[in-house]
Amino acid sequence: MSGMPPSLAPAAKPGAKPATRRVAESRDQADRARLDAAMRGFISDFGPEAAVYMEACLHCGQCAEACQFYVETGDPKYTPIWKIEPFKQAYSREMGPFAPFFRAFGLTPKVTLGELEGWQELLYDSCNMCGRCSLVCPAGIDIADLVEKARHGMFEAGLVPGDYLGALAGKEQETGNPFGISREDVRRALLEIGRSHGVEMHVDEPRAAVVPTVSSIDLKMYPASIAATARVLNHVGASWSFRTDGFDADNVSLTAGDRTGQRLVTEAIVDAATRCGAEVLIMPECGHSYTEMRWEAANTVGHALPFRVLHMSEYLAECLDAGRLKLRPVTPDPEGRGVTFHDPCQLSRRSGRSDAPRKVMAALGLDLHELADHGADSWCCGGGGGVALINRARPLRDKAFAIKRRQVADTGAGTVIVSCTGCRQTFEHGFKDAGGETGVGSLLDLVAGQLEEDGKTP
């Protein structure tokens, strides 16, 4: 790493060229060059771990049985390990221990651009990177991790699907959020939410022990959640502040496979939190951004983070434990149907914190009816990994969502509690598309509504 700690480095210059330039350029690149770019994207940051995964696959097919896209459609092409097939081939030819022989004897055909185009649907539309397949694999192959690497290659070859995902990622690089909202607009919007919801809002304070981040989706669709964040942090008496220079945690670039964008977003947040001396960085109720910040950011910036990274439900659970968060139990619903809870894959399965949201729900006195598969075994809502951002994938997403709908129905619960904005959106769409009547509730919103005010700030 360079001598200058990233916290002192200037933020991304406004004039810096966004990576969309490369996407646009790639349209005109010769196929060959795009292919090479794909392989480069794939093998960069490819280490012994990924290589072991590549060598270990038995072709046993069990991962198919763990994937909702296969289970609900019965189409074998949705077998998780098949989704990275061209990259497996590329690995054999370019990086594997027998690569020289594979090349010399042509044992593995060179991947073609046409193949990669054909794989676009498999790598983007039909993979949530939820890691359920990684859990069933008898060889322990982290297929979700390999899909992430494969998407790097796809991005480099200009094969990010639709303009939607690509454009979102591009805007993210320009402005730090996928909707292209300027810092000033963000600041105004946050203050406005504080005013309209009657909650004290802290924005861009120079010093703050707790820095929450949010999803820009919340800014537009669920402003109440942002107000809830402020309300809870005020309640626990934290010194906190939103930072408009590191505010949006969506990291759409990560799901798009754009490492440059991913790194810019990550660095911006790390820098912002470091600058105000944060002790805790709270990730919003959103999955992939949490794993990125929690488990990868230190490697991206090249040093251990000077603050802790917590998911909102982890933070709530900690405050409960410390006695700083006091909650009134919810009034039981008259029908007595209770609630069920959808585990966000990245928190429960990928990070091992299924306990945190349950601790919070217990404090709320919720009548929790667990899904048949919950915790680490939970099925993804079908929207993760950026799939929710791909318009054309909606029919497939709805199909995959069927398993979730069935399991929710089986509990008899009237409401599904979620703790991830992405999941929340997918559930609302999914229930709407299927004409269901099950309600969807945010854990944070629930908490914010049940705060026990003990004469402190109202």
């Binding site: 790493m1 360079s2 200058m4 990233p6 480095a9 200037p10 991304a12 210059k13 810096a16 060229k17 990576a19 480069r40 093998i43 960069s44 940051d45 490819f46 370019e94 990086m95 594997g96 221990p97 027998f98 690569a99 020289p100 490492r259 440059t260 810019l264 660095e267 490697n299 991206t300 910036v301 090249g302």
Partner: protein, 373 residues
């Protein structure tokens, strides 16, 4: 035909009765694996058979075969067969020596041309024109070529004559070979064993005298009646093998219990011979019964098949240093492959870093340098 030329007459002359001959025929039928009902026919046929001339040559041998065949402590009835055979020439047994012996050989070969049986024990050295074994100034090769030409059939007695045996064992300084490697035109029966079982030779002779031809042979030229099954198949310890009970050393409990000797290197499963059924020393015992595994002495190249105490499934795996060498080679190639992969990855990383530098300038908190070469 003179009356005394038939076995019946000769036996009568010895005071051997019809019943004795019948009894012998029953024993011969047993040992030749013929139905017991044919014993009377064998007896009748033997009784009318003509005296058979036999010339016995000893080449590169140890005389163990002859010892085995003649040193029966209680001469049984098969001894009579040898008596009936006109053993016209046998250097070890005959009284004549020197020129007189040579003359005997020449006369026997001339008088019975085309009809005599040629028995040979010992291998034939072929190096340097065969000078490593000579009798009366003539090489074994010469004698074999000349005498085989006039023989009705050739009996290769013992493993040396049959397959070269111990003289042929690596490095085989005399370039020893078995009879079948040199004699191509005559029927040959191999009676291997180190030494061979006497009853087998008797059986072959009875067969020849009774039916006028050699018995059925297997693909290694051995009489099927005696070499059709493996020692393992007939071994009385076989049930222990099937039960998985093995002696692990020559003095453990398994050895005392008489369990299978497979693990101690017994070659029974790959050795075809009649030891386990006919046994040795008048039916007293055979090697496995006395607690030692079969050496496989009646099989070709038995001396060169590794240790007698290496079990059959063992085989000759590589020594540890060779395994270590292979691992080192693997490490080298694998390391080279990984090095090549590292280089191509490093090139990619460098290029990406350059692009980053170009696009984002000083923001580059480079992550590429920290990965090794």
């Amino acid at each position: 035909m003179k009356p005394r030329d038939t076995l019946g007459q000769k036996l009568a002359g010895y005071g051997i009765s019809r019943r004795a001959l019948l009894k012998f025929a029953a024993a011969a039928a047993t040992s030749l694996a013929l139905p017991p009902g044919v014993a009377p026919a064998i007896a009748e046929s033997l009784s009318g058979a003509r005296r058979q001339s036999l010339i016995w040559l000893s080449f590169q041998d140890c005389t163990g075969c002859l010892e085995s065949l003649t040193r029966s402590d209680a001469p049984g009835i098969e001894r009579l067969i040898f008596d009936f055979i006109s053993l016209d020439y046998q250097e070890t047994l005959m009284a004549a020596a020197g020129a007189a012996a040579d003359e005997t050989l020449v006369r026997a070969a001339r008088d019975n041309h085309g009809k005599y049986l040629l028995a040979i024990d010992g291998s034939v050295p072929t190096a340097e024109g065969g000078v490593h074994s000579m009798v009366g100034g003539r090489t074994n090769m010469d004698m074999l070529a000349e005498l085989a030409e006039g023989a009705a059939a050739v009996l290769a007695i013992g493993t040396c004559a049959a397959y070269g045996g111990i003289p042929k064992a690596a490095p085989n300084p005399t370039s020893a070979v078995g009879i079948a490697d040199l004699v191509k035109e005559k029927p040959i029966v191999n009676i291997p064993g180190c030494p061979p079982i006497p009853e087998v030779l008797t059986g072959v002779l009875v067969n020849f005298l009774t039916f006028g031809r050699l018995p059925d042979l297997d693909d290694l030229g051995r009489p099927l009646a005696y070499f059709g099954t493996t020692i393992h198949d007939q071994c009385y310890r076989r049930p222990y093998y099937d039960q998985g009970k093995f002696a692990h050393s020559f003095d453990d409990e398994g050895a005392r219990q008489g369990w299978c000797l497979f693990e101690l290197g017994c070659k029974g499963p790959t050795t075809r011979n009649a030891c386990a059924s006919l046994k040795w020393n008048g039916g007293t015992s055979f090697p496995i019964q006395s607690g030692h595994g079969c050496l496989g002495c009646s099989e070709p190249d038995f001396w060169d098949k590794g240790s007698f105490y290496t079990s059959l499934s063992g085989g000759e795996g590589p020594p540890w240093d060779a395994v270590g060498g292979a691992a080192a080679v693997g490490l080298g190639i694998g390391g080279a492959a990984a090095f090549a992969a590292r280089r191509s990855r490093a090139a990619v990383d460098r290029q990406l870093a350059k692009e980053w530098q170009r696009d984002h300038g000083a923001t580059a908190t480079s992550k590429t340098e920290e990965d090794g070469p």
